[in-house]
Amino acid sequence: MTVETIVFYLFAALTVFAGLRVITARNPMHAVLFLVLAFVASAGIWMLLEAEFLAITLVLVYVGAVMVLFLFVVMMLDINLVRLREGFWRWFPVGLLLAGLMVFQMIWVLGGMDGISGIEPVKHAADYSNTKELGRLIYTDYVYAFELAAVLLLIAMVAAIALTLRRRKDAKSQVVGRQIAVKRNDRVRIVSVPAEPKQPVVTE
């Protein structure tokens, strides 16, 4: 057993454990954090496959950005566990069916390859840049698919903004350009007030 195999089983066990805890954790905040752990562990597995670009991007995008937004949402939800679990057994068969379907699909796709464990990643020299190779492929062979995906994301972004953008008529906002352009004379008016004559002090 090489060091790599040990590390692989370590990360794989961690991924499976974290994945299980995501669905079994009672506290939704804990569930999200276990999902983060699952992402980090799978990034470790990708790193073992010498896919350093994908591994680091997984951490950067999913852990660093997407899960932060998840945490944001979950933190602010008022979660009632009893109500969440109400319909569990009613929907259980549907869930089971979907899960079975997914397992079938994965067997269908991956089972075709002769022996999953038999695939050895190609070893490269230390100066080999996975990122450069990936970039070259994306912008040459797969450029249309890549551009289409980018346009799709752009549409999703525009749609999300358009759906949630509400203009309130009575909202007040600042125009920064006008704020900066303000001169002293627009705001300050110096009035000369004549000094009041001294009142005689009344003493008794």
């Binding site: 506290n27 905040m29 954090l33 983060v36 350093e52 670009f53 680091i56 991007t57 951490v59 950067l60 852990v63 660093g64 950005a65 932060v68 937004l69 945490l71 944001f72 933190m75 100066d127 080999y128 840049s129 996975n130 990122t131 600042q174 920064v176």
Partner: protein
């Protein structure tokens, strides 16, 4: 110096064989983490001294000569203080949060070169690794705010994480310009790319000047430092996300903030100011230049704090989303086009 290191490595290899690698790596990690921790301690003193100087007062001057032992006194005080865990707080996450804040700040140092070959991990995806590590720091803050079970801490955490997430984008795009110019994501190669034989003129802060400014300002915002320290807006939300922390828990957040400052200073130096390269061709390149440039960037952090009033939250968001991000996006295109012309001299 280098020969001494090589003989040390040789004897180690003969003595321990295959176990020498992890031992040597741990030694290298200590060689970076300990100076960073010392730097953090004395950065707090430097901050108080420089703020004192700028505000015409002496600053700490009672513990040791010129207050030189003040950081030690502060450290001992924080160690001896009682740890208080608020009622109804989530204990595990409450204790884990400071660690999660500090760990990424230290992990990022793995790929930062201090001199030619003076780096723990000389990896090709170094820049990506840096981006990933700096994006993890926000977890400590969110979890601290949530686990404290305190409204002030929660509001502080929300503010601070929104701020960090927004400014991260601008920082990322600024680094994309650097990687375009260097044509490499290896941090060491980025520094070597700035060596064109004319000293200072080869550094990337000249063609990427707007990115240099954006990166550093975003770095100040990213570390929650004044004038962007809205997370710990004393007058509004007490101390922000670490309101409920006392003793060492607070000290770890403090360490993380200052370690992040030093990290941003080091990153700015490496990306834009030529790392260990000498500013004039007739002086040799050395780690001294790296440290001098980092000290200058750290001085800027303190100078900003003494000079600028705190931003309002909407102004902060406006600066991040409406000024920095469009500017960086445009500059990526400008640099990419510029590099296709013969006028690109870097």
């Amino acid at each position: 110096m280098m020969e001494l290191l090589q003989t040390l490595e040789q004897t180690g290899l003969e003595l321990l064989g295959p176990f020498w690698m992890p031992v040597w790596t741990v030694i290298k990690i200590f060689a970076i983490v300990l100076p960073v921790m010392g730097g953090v301690a004395y950065l707090t003193l430097a901050e108080r001294k420089i703020l004192g100087f700028m505000q015409l007062r002496p600053g700490p001057n009672r513990v040791g000569y010129w207050g030189l032992l003040q950081p030690l006194a502060d450290g001992i005080k924080l160690l001896l203080k009682e740890l208080i865990i608020p009622a109804e707080a989530n204990k595990f996450l409450f204790v884990a949060a400071p660690v999660l804040a500090l760990a990424p700040a230290l992990a990022a140092w793995a790929v930062i070169p201090f001199g030619e070959g003076m780096v723990i991990a000389d990896v090709n995806a170094g820049l990506l690794y840096l981006l990933a590590m700096t994006s993890l720091g926000v977890y400590g803050i969110i979890i601290a705010g949530w686990a404290s079970n305190s409204k002030y801490a929660f509001l502080g955490a929300l503010r601070s994480s929104a701020q960090i997430v927004s400014y991260e984008l601008a920082m990322g795009f600024a680094l994309v310009c650097v990687l375009l110019a260097a044509q490499s994501m290896n941090v060491g190669d980025i520094v070597r790319g700035q060596n064109n034989g004319y000293g200072l003129m080869g550094w990337y802060f000249i063609p990427l000047f707007p990115m240099f400014v954006v990166y550093f300002i975003a770095g100040v915002a990213e570390t929650n430092r004044a004038p962007f320290d809205l997370a710990e807006d004393e007058s509004a939300i007490v101390a922000g996300f670490h309101t409920e922390y006392s003793g060492m828990g607070f000290a770890l957040f403090f360490l993380a903030e200052y370690a992040n400052m030093i990290l941003i200073a080091a990153l700015t130096t490496v990306m834009f100011l030529g790392g260990w390269l000498s500013p004039v061709p007739f002086l040799p390149d050395s780690i001294v230049w790296m440290l001098a440039k980092m000290s200058f960037m750290l001085f800027l952090f303190l100078w900003f704090r003494a000079t600028f009033p705190r931003y309002r939250y909407d102004q902060l968001m406006r600066l991040g989303w409406k000024v920095f991000i469009p500017l960086t996006l445009v500059w990526v295109v400008v640099v990419a086009a510029w590099m296709q012309t013969p006028y690109w001299l870097w």
